[in-house]
Assembly symmetry: C2
Homo-oligomer: 765 residues x 2
């Protein structure tokens, strides 16, 4: 697959200069200075009915323009998930949200909103609103929510607190259970709720113009945002305009619709005045989304050679108060298990997503796979330890092999670098030497270990959901081109690789591609946005097709103007060349002629839709070397190596940066991050002071490595890259701690309190 | 030509609500509050060389960030005219501008610029800049500029002060001259310099982002603006981004590039910081553009029946200090003479555009035709008076008839409503009755008269220049459509008629067309912009072609999805219907399927270029009844009627509003407006207090009437409408004054000082 040199080249980010100089515009930078300010009043009870809201004192605050309560807003249930809309009702997201809620379902739920001339007036008014609640029993964990007598949080959606559940069965698990020659393992693995901690809060401003409600917002999904705002307000989707500037991180939290519909509504009731709604960091923690806490009750049957013969896994996901992405994430946690390891005889997975009176869980980098992978990889090491096998060997025995086809979705293993990734990590980590060294009896307070974990990850959402993307290339007067997409740059470097792809497909020099860095649903081609590690793959296909069409149109114009057969011409950087390589015309001259020729002007554009019916598996692994201070319960990561097979890398430097970011996120997930709720459902550590996000001081040198494969379904041989890096880090560290200490931690994070308790219990300290 | 009802329907403006409620965004509304502020230092001498600029004191003003002088800017000559670029060098606009000038050529020329944190600091600094000039002789009128010893204002462009000249000759004028049987008439008609007086000043702000200079500005011509800024700064045109919001009027002044390149440059040298440059009303008067003062030395030979046998006309246009639109306007003044009236034997026109040390003349509504029409219509009444003919009869004898083809351009009279316009005006004004009544001897101080004038006007600029336009329609998720154009709404109602056209061509309901009201050169299809009364005609063709393609794509999608032959289907408002009229699918459902179908999504868009090689003549006339107060020299307009043939009217109410606006402009041109320069070239009345723009109290009830024709070259039978209304008013009033008083005023405006002087001279007072 020979592409021009631009594919695989680490060109600097197209937005690098703007981002380091501060020239890049984010939502808050664009908000008019005289915009009104909105603030939200949140529920102080975890479950209850609002009986009354007294705004009489709040209304008297000078500068308060409007106060709306849960009794004022339209009674329209709307979904918030950043999923493509489905034309099948059964596949549509659950519309269990209201703009403001009379039935409050968590501490932080939205009861009222104030619009004022400034932050101070809005904040003063918030404090003066009096809400009278009728409290209901609060179910702050999965088990209480599933109790037979538990009230359903959403009667209109479900008569239990199960958002949705599904069972997958293959083979005869009863036969496996009854075999005495198999070893039976059963462990329960638990993962914690975690927050995305993007730098930029959920921020938006809205006004009305041209008969439309316009919303500038920090989102990964402008076209989906448009649809959901339309749904929430009961307005035609075409009368909503969403503009997405650069955003300061999203990590899935902004693959959901957050306060933008409320913002749109507030502008609407203010007669179209510009209203800004920027929530605080504390509100991001309590009232946006979080990673699902999951519990995986995992049973495995293994023969004495370590071959997985059968598994039975129950996955329970704590979804919090609203459906958000519904069952999709928990479903993902369960289905991945049959991909990464293949049972010989039988598999059963059961997955349940459960409403609870806690903050809502939604999309977060990895989308259920970090939880599943933690369980799968812990179990694999637990079995290996029991059988006295090397963790790498037991994985090689059981993991996905080339030619695999997922039985549920038909997604095939089209390219396969997993085994090479493991070998590369083994070598780079000096696994054999260290594993052997640390296997020797250790004593004293400081113990060392090395561990690893692997993963597989789908690329995009087909065939579970729609995959579609459009792209537009427009010739400029100087022979450069505008590339316009609905796909979004969310900090990951998307715009840069999109330009590389457009250059490769069109034949233009990379420097001649100008990308439109913002998305405006009034003018941008349609794309569902940044999620599922889909854009370089799904949008990439659209860019490739569009670039090829653009190249064709350029050569056809040159052929017509210079009386040459079009098939002999090609685009070569800054010119049209013939087969001998000779210049037929520069693109600058071709463009000048196309725009201004008196005998035939033509504004050359190419626009395509790419309906994508492909998907493919990306792979990778993490190797972690740790030093555990038993007395302090502290895990120091000495070495951390991720090796990824993401197919062909479009931009290796950006790919490495993506991996490093994901490893840092995985490190926090492994060791320190956890949203702590008390029994009443109150978040205890919802600030960046109390929530232990790793800082630069906590992160070791990160080693991001790749095994390059050429995926035949990828537009340029590429496949998923964005989300995977966060996945294998936690189990690799956990398994390293297991080797160092002999203690199998089945619950994340491995934070000092938990470690000290376990070490004490085991008599290690 | 049967179009759906939407053509010819007076639907309310799509921007009406926003404009009356203040929601519509103009440039100043969009400028960030923290932008730096730029102000320009203007020349105080009419002609000279800047010897030195001392900025030492000005730099000390707190808040001053930067001062640049004419010695700092790049030495790049650039053109400013809002003309399509020409690939032929000889046809390119004259690049005689610099961002700031060492050789200053009028009082108001640009010498230096200050960038400061606010207006106050900028203004203080401006006052402290000391400029040392070496004065040169100033030529403040055409005759002094053409004197043999006059220094050329632009040595690099021309060794005289003639910007350009041309002669048109047909027939044997010498033979005409020598015929004793013909009556010879010779008069010199003079028109004054006038200002556009758009409400919104020339306003822009610029910053750098994404490697581009972005300029938001109040312009009629965003794509041309992009090109000129690129030329002025010596940067690739694709690295300039121009955004045009709603604008508060242009009338041709914003068909020129004004301070936007300087604004772009100031941001560039400030490292891309946002800089705002809004000039004052006084600067709009001195330093933007104005209507050419012209002098037409007009000779006509007429037989005794009043038939024009030959003409010899010399047109001199005072162009001011810079070329701007060059010779195009003066050329238009001369060529129209051969169109509106056709000589029997011979025509000679000579036209010269002359540089002078006064403010620069450029495009203004009518583009040279108001001046020419004033001369032509005065002459026609002067001849009629002499021959004792009725002004209508002499016109009917000589005016353009169906089948006419302009000998210079080949533009044909494709549709013809002129005679009907005159008859309609005759009837509405009760011409016969009043003309006869006022023809009777009048005495006393108050005299009455009725007069009229006719005109013809081309539609667009083909074949003199390029005519090209693109249009894009994009299906929305709800079955509505986005219409995106490079053509601009400049207050004239363009967006509304574009939506009507798109609805008619696509078959969608008018309400389902959402227009993108701003132009952003990064995302808008190419169009040269609003001028030459071209948009409903030239852009209209693009919209029609685009709408038809969009309709085809919608029916093809429906055909494929519902297994019906596409040729049996059509778009019917909000649905796809078959030949029986039955609904096959609603557009809402079709769109939902197109966006979200798992078995084949498609984002339906249509984009076309329309290269236009048509042109056609629009016609009209004005009837004016006046009452003259001899002693006060005051003309009171009792009745004013314009009747237009603009082909088929897309929106009659908007057409009438256009005509009323033009009539008001014509009224000011006739009676009060004039930019007064003293002998040193200093503008004496450059404020809205001193410059006598008609107010509501000065304007009588205006009657705007139409004769509807169906032009076969117009996309919907339509032709020029925007500029014509301003043309025939001044001569109609002048001719009415002639009837009332017997005094032939050959110079505009007919203001009291001039009238009192003439009436005194004639012994009337």
């Amino acid at each position: 697959m020979a592409y021009p040199d631009i594919i695989g080249k680490s060109v600097p980010r197209v937005d690098a200069r703007d981002k380091v100089t501060g020239a890049a515009k984010y939502t808050a930078d664009l908000c008019p200075a005289n915009a009104l300010v909105a603030r939200v009043l949140h529920s102080t009870v975890a479950h209850g009915l609002v009986r009354a809201v007294d705004i009489s004192e709040a209304e008297k605050v000078p500068g308060v323009e409007k106060i709306v309560t849960c009794f004022d807003v339209p009674d329209i249930g709307f979904p918030t998930a950043g999923h493509p809309w489905s034309t099948e009702i059964s596949h549509q997201d659950i519309g269990d949200r209201r703009l403001l809620n009379r039935h409050v379902r968590y501490i932080g739920d939205d009861v009222a909103a104030v619009v004022a001339v400034d932050e101070v007036a809005a904040a003063r008014a918030l404090r003066l609103i009096r809400v009278e609640y009728e409290e209901l029993p609060a179910y702050t964990d999965v088990s209480s929510a599933l109790a037979p007598d538990a009230l359903p949080l959403h009667e209109e959606v479900s008569d239990s607190n199960i958002v949705k559940q599904h069972i997958y069965e293959a083979g005869d698990l009863d036969a496996v259970r009854s075999r005495a020659d198999l070893r039976h393992f059963r462990h329960t693995y638990r993962t914690q709720p975690a927050q995305h901690c993007h730098i930029e809060s959920a921020t938006s401003f809205a006004w009305m113009e041209g008969g439309k409600i316009c919303v500038v917002c920090s989102t990964q999904i402008p076209h989906i945002m448009r649809r959901v705002i339309g749904q929430a307000l009961g307005l035609p989707w075409g009368s909503i305009r969403v503009i997405k500037p650069y955003i300061g991180g999203g990590f899935g939290n902004k693959q959901d619709v957050l306060y933008e519909p409320l913002n749109a509504y507030l502008s609407y009731i203010m007669g179209g005045a510009c209203v800004r709604l920027e929530i605080s960091r504390e509100e991001v923690f309590t009232s946006t989304r979080q990673r699902h806490a999951e519990e995986l009750d995992y049973q495995a049957w293994v023969d004495d050679k370590g071959r997985l013969m059968g598994r039975d896994v129950l996955v329970l996901a704590q979804n919090g108060a609203y459906a958000s992405h519904g069952h999709a994430i928990c479903a993902n946690s369960s289905t991945v298990l049959r991909d990464i390891y293949n049972d010989e005889l039988a598999t059963r997975t059961e997955a349940k997503t459960v409403y609870t009176n806690t903050g809502t869980a939604g999309a977060m980098r990895g989308y259920g796979i970090p939880q599943a992978c933690f369980a799968a990889e812990c179990m694999m090491d637990d079995i290996a330890l029991e059988l006295g096998m090397d963790p790498i060997e037991i994985r090689k025995l059981n993991m996905m092999r080339p030619g695999f086809v997922d039985p549920g979705t038909g997604i095939a293993c089209n390219s396969y670098g997993l085994a090479d990734c493991i070998e590369k990590g083994r070598e780079l980590s000096r696994w054999d030497e260290k594993r052997a060294r640390y296997a020797k009896p250790q004593s004293g307070n400081i113990r060392r270990g090395i561990g690893m974990g692997i993963f597989t990850y789908k690329t995009g959402v087909y065939p579970i959901s729609l995959e579609t993307a459009s792209a537009r290339l427009v010739l400029n007067e100087d022979g450069t081109a505008q590339l316009q997409l609905g796909a979004t740059e969310i900090g990951q470097g998307g715009d840069t690789v999109f330009c590389q792809m457009a250059a490769a497909a069109s034949g233009l020099d990379f420097e001649r591609i100008h990308i439109v860095s913002f998305q405006d649903t009034d003018t941008a081609p349609f794309d569902t946005g940044a999620y599922a590690s889909r854009q370089t793959y799904v949008t990439g296909k659209a860019i490739k097709k569009c670039g090829e069409l653009f190249r064709q149109k350029l050569t056809e114009r040159a052929a017509a103007r210079f009386h040459r057969p079009a098939e002999e011409l090609t685009v070569a950087g800054d010119r049209i060349a013939d087969r001998s390589g000779a210049t037929v015309v520069t693109l600058a001259d071709l463009a000048e002629d196309a725009f201004y020729a008196l005998d035939g002007s033509e504004h050359i554009t190419a626009e395509v839709t790419s309906h994508c019916t492909d998907n493919t598996f990306a792979f990778g692994c993490c190797f972690a070397e740790v030093e555990v201070d038993l007395a302090l319960g502290r895990v120091k990561v000495l070495d951390l190596i991720n090796v990824h097979d993401s197919g062909t890398l479009i931009n290796p430097a950006l790919a490495a940066a993506q991996v490093e970011g994901g490893m840092s996120m995985g490190l926090g997930y492994a060791l320190s991050e956890e949203m702590l709720y008390n029994g009443e459902g109150r978040l205890l550590n919802g600030t960046l002071l109390d929530y232990k996000l790793p800082t630069a001081l906590d992160v070791p040198d990160l080693k991001a490595e790749f095994v390059v494969t050429d995926d035949p379904t990828g537009p340029f041989g590429n496949k998923a890259l964005g989300e995977p890096p966060a996945i294998p880090v936690a189990p690799a560290i956990r398994n390293a701690v297991l080797q160092a200490t002999g203690v199998a931690f089945n619950e994340l994070p491995l934070e000092p309190k938990r470690l000290v308790a376990a070490f004490s219990e085991r008599g290690l300290i």
